[in-house]
């Protein structure tokens, strides 16, 4: 067990990456640590037919063509923009890709409304500038600049949250592949080494806040990651992530499979009702993504571990579902109330199982909140 709360992918899977690198005899582009095929294998997991001596678990769940397109984009001249609803695994995929390609997934710029051009290019250590003047030593390179110098992958999270002028600073980086430092008289250009590229993520719900300029758009290849609606793979994702979380929190607690089914089914129902809704008031504010499901489950697990009887019940699951999804009052609560009485109640009468308890838990939680 490492002493990091959350180890980045290259540390967490360091041993696996080392091993893959040792067996990889396929051609590698630029300074990549792994070949494209091995990267795909690292992310999507191995099968018996791949002929490897050990099994590589799957780490990202989704259509394989998305991963292939993403890898190929990074091997080409363009940056990669992963776009999709919140909670679809964009950042996780970006982290895995940069860990596999350059063994460093921490060169991240987080796009916010307060991000400035300095965060993307460089800034100055003021006291050193006063003491020694402007030089390469007194310059603080941004993560992107570091990635350029090392020929690594730089990441830009939530690109559309930062303002347009900041976004446009990326244009020259992506096309000329250098940053000039006009403050310096000599050695004033930082060139990117081969292997440098950028993975940006953007939230499709933020569209229209800070639209990308068309000049920047054409320097990125867009890969749209859809919300997982396939029940089987969603179950896999939830199980995978929850196990990981439980391990991280060192909690010994089983998630009964029937409760997982209840969770997946309730999200599927809520998504269907959101799809049928006419206006925003009729649907939950939440995007109902897979990450949200994991959040609900994690919350329920932690609750039952620390406050409950160290066993997950449908009652706890329902109250954490209501607690996580009810964000607006009264709209969200009304929708959840309608869902509980219109869908869960008939189902608990018909199917029984964990549903009656789930219904009771949901009712209690709504009663507490309203």
């Amino acid at each position: 067990m490492s002493d990091l709360l959350r180890a980045p992918a290259e540390i967490k899977y360091a041993e696996e990456l080392d091993w893959l690198e040792s067996v990889d005899d396929n051609p590698k582009p630029f300074s990549w640590r792994l070949s494209p095929k091995m990267i795909r294998l690292f992310i999507l997991g191995s099968e018996r037919s791949d002929g490897l001596d050990r099994e590589i678990p799957q780490k990202w769940f989704g259509d394989r063509s998305f991963v292939e397109r993403a890898i190929v984009t990074l091997a080409s001249d363009r940056g990669l923009l992963l776009i999709g609803d919140p909670g679809t695994g964009k950042s996780w995929l970006a982290e895995l890709l940069s860990a596999a390609i350059s063994r460093n997934s921490t060169l991240v710029v987080q796009g916010t409304a307060g991000t400035t051009e300095d965060h993307i290019k460089y800034s100055w250590n003021v006291s050193m500038v006063i003491a020694k003047g402007q030089s390469r030593e007194s310059m603080i390179p941004s993560p992107i600049m570091t990635a350029m110098e090392n020929g690594a992958i730089g990441r830009f999270e939530e690109l559309t949250r930062s303002t347009s002028d900041v976004q446009d600073a990326l244009i020259s980086i992506l096309s000329e592949k250098y940053i000039s430092v006009p403050e310096l008289d000599s050695d004033n250009i930082v060139f990117a080494k081969p292997g440098f590229s950028i993975i940006a993520t953007a939230n499709s719900r933020d569209r229209g806040v800070n639209d990308l300029s068309s000049a920047l758009k054409r320097r990125f290849n867009f890969v749209r990651i859809p919300v997982v609606t396939n029940k089987k793979s969603e179950a896999e994702i939830v199980r995978f992530r929850t196990e990981e979380l439980l391990r991280r929190h060192q909690i010994e607690l089983d998630v009964p499979p029937n409760l997982l089914d209840v969770l997946l089914q309730s999200f599927a129902d809520l998504r269907a009702s959101a799809a049928a809704a006419g206006s925003d008031d009729e649907k939950l504010e939440s995007a109902l993504s897979t990450a949200e499901q994991i959040g609900v489950l994690e919350d329920a697990v932690l609750h039952s571990n620390f406050f409950g009887e160290r066993a997950l019940t449908a009652h706890t699951l329902a109250s954490s579902l209501v607690g996580s999804l009810a964000r607006r009052e009264p709209e969200d609560l009304a929708i959840l109330n309608k869902y509980l009485h219109g869908v869960v109640e008939p189902r608990s009468k018909e199917e029984g199982g964990s549903w009656p308890e789930f219904l009771a838990g949901g009712r209690d939680a709504i009663a507490t909140l309203s």
């Binding site: 494209p36 095929k37 795909r40 099968e47 037919s49 394989r64 063509s65 292939e68 397109r69 890898i71 190929v72 984009t73 091997a75 080409s76 001249d77 363009r78 776009i83 953007a202 499709s204 569209r207 990308l212 068309s214 758009k217 054409r218 290849n221 867009f222 890969v223 749209r224 859809p226």
Partner: protein, 939 residues
Amino acid sequence: MSGAHESTFAGLRGQLQEAAAAFADGPDALEGILLGIVDDVDRAVREPLEIFPVCHHSPASALAMARRLREKQPKVVYLELCEDMAPLLTELRNCRLPVAVQAFATEIDGFPAEWSPLSVVAPITEASAEYQAIAYALDTPGVELVLVDRSSDHVFQWDARGTHSAEPPAQNGGADAPPAEEEAALHGDAVGVEIGDLRPRFAELEEHLLRHGKVRHWSEWWHQYVEVPLGDSDHDTYRQVMLLIGSLFRRLAPGEPNRVRVDEDRERYMWTRMRAHLAATGADPADCLYVCGAFHAASRVAEFGVHGTDTFEIGPRTATTWQHGLIPSSHAAIEAQFGLAAGSVSIAATVWAKNVKRTRVQPYRLDGQTGTKKPARPRKTAVALAPVPQTSPPTDKLTGFLRQPPVLDGLDEAELLGWSVEIVRAARRNGYLASTADAIAVFETSILLAGMRDRAKPTPYDFQDAAVTCIEKDTVPGRRDVRRLVDIMMGGDRTGQVGYDALPPLARDVHDRLAPLELKLQQRGVQRALLDIAAQPELERCSDVLWMLRYLMPHGAARPIMGERKLGERPIQESWDLALGTHQRALIELGYEGVSIEQVLEQRLRRTAYGSQATTATVLETVEDAALYLRSRRLADELGTRALEVLAAERSVDGAPEVLRRVRRLLSHYRTSEPVLPQWIESFVKTGYAHYCTLLPTACTDEDATVRQVAAMLGFLFSMEGLALSLGCDRTQLELAVSQSHPEDPSKTALLWAARTQLGHLSRADLRAKCDALLGNPLVVPAYPRYLSGFLHALEPVPGLADFVVEAVSNAFGRLPDPVLLPWLPTLIGTLRSDGAELAPLLIREAGRIFPGRLAALDAWTPPWRSQPEAHTAEPTPGADTGHGVTLLAAHPATCDALAGLLGCDGTWQTAPPAPHGATLTRAHPDTAIALEALLAGR
């Protein structure tokens, strides 16, 4: 022979045995499957009648077929296609492919009625093996083409579960599935039959193959792992590999039992038919070729082979009448019907064209095939090659094929460059900001993607992925996204067309009769026809045809832009939007119903009129249509008589408004156009009068009968009264019916009052008094609006009451309290808009007459009904009225005395002294008055 038999695949057998032992610890199911596959291949290869396994929409199959036909020159070709479709195949030459051979039945006998109409389609594309076989057999002298599969009738007979949409829905779906296009619906809801359906029948196997092939869908897998390696292989290899695949899918997963049963029955059917044909004609099996799907080639039924058992009994067909024809098809329709990936059939067509060019194989093509270029030089078939006798025993080609490394198609850089440039241009045309830089990126990405997927040459599908990656951004600017653009670029959808000569007589007749319009109606798309009938009277015939087409064909096939057809009107100028080419299938299917559109229309009208759901209103509609479109007095009379029957049997009044409207229109039509009314309409009015008189009391109390329906009944009774009475009806019947009616609903009550006014039972003054009483009574005021709507509906039967209705409405506006009036106003407007389209003008005209036209006049204006009361007060009061007759009698007693004498009474006259009644009473009982006086005086 048996020694050679054993040895052909002995090596392979041995290897497979070892493999089975290595993977599954000893002889077991795996070994059974593996060796069984070899047995299947061996058996099919040794069959004296050459079996040629094919797969649908496979250019490799088509190419191998063309080569084999040139080499072998068989005398008889047996083809796996419904045997009843044979006569149509030669008509294929008149069509632009793809088209579908269709068997169609509307008059069904022996199947559940709800299955009707039955329809089976077999689409045929040019890039298919079956087209090669058909073209060869039909155009080579001395060659016979025999279709051996079960008939269309058996397709439904064997459809045990009654789900005749047995084909699985498209499985390529998911988020990327393109929206369904209009072309995809070209086959309607027909059941598709196809030669060589070859696909794993359980999802896990398919998923496994797709995953390991690093492909997205079945069509791509097939292209990559069968099509490309087999592209240039020799006949034996092709045949053995196809047999192997057929057998593999069959042995691994035969699919659900019902489907297997049908498949095996089909194989028994085909072999039985072939043996019968061989026996009848005495043909040598060596000169024959049996073309069937690879799945059926690996059959294990006992009837398999020339020497198979003759144990299968072919059941008789049902009495259903089947019609046959060709309908246009399209790549998209084929993909949608058989669950193929979008674009796969188009890609197959492109690959076929490329392969033909590359391998220089001369494909067969029907003489005069439309839609293709004429061959540059006469085909070689005239100089028939001597068939190569196949004496050498079959050799094992499988081992080599299975061992060879995957064939890597070399990178065709020029082609890929062309694609990349082309897609960028297409994207730009569709609103994308794509540039040359994108073309470069697409080119590079395609190669990288293909490399990741272990192929040297990017497939069209890799290219599609690359184009989406590089060009598609966050939004789609135009109507089509990049994926769709690539589909279109790769050949796009192609829609077939059935040529004039291959059309059924009805469709040909329609085209002939529309020839004066001088339009190319065979072409797809909308065309505008202008008919100046006043200048060119001969165009009136065209107009007739167009109106009938509008009635019979789906919406959009013939759409009038200007001009209408109404009873008693003659067209002068018309303009039409015609899309007969687009709706060719509908026109062809009309052709199955009759030889001319008049006949079909007549049948349809009859069917409607005699259907079990027919109501008087619908039958009258057919009468109108018969008069309108067919101008047929005979049919109109027949249907009118039918309307009479239906009316007599009807017990509800639901259709009354419609009946009234239609019968009025027909009456006025016949009155103006015919010297005497048709017999049926006279009877109809008579019967209707009696009928509605009978139903009136019930309808008034029946909660289900609406006020509109009752109004329509009364309308019928009042407006047809003159005619009915002249035909011998009795008015007493109506009077009795009205007096028997005691509605409870306020609106119906008001309606009845109006009716009684019309009959003279109720005066205007009484009606007015009733309304005043209603308005004056606070307990009934809330119901007043409902009385008012009754009056509004009364305008239909009693139009003379219009001034009174205006008065009632004005009073309502004037006197109703706001809480009652305001909620009712929207209802009033809504009712007037929906039901009162004819009544509103009447009401408005009357209001315009009553109310002053100018604002200034309004101040001095008193409503006419307010000025009337003085006139009324001049009339004697009811109280004074009583003495009226008595005075007269006293003045002239002679009449009365004479009458009394006649009756034998001795009449004496009394004179009643007029005395105040109250005074008499006080005189007889004075106590009260005295007490009162004392009381008052005491104060």
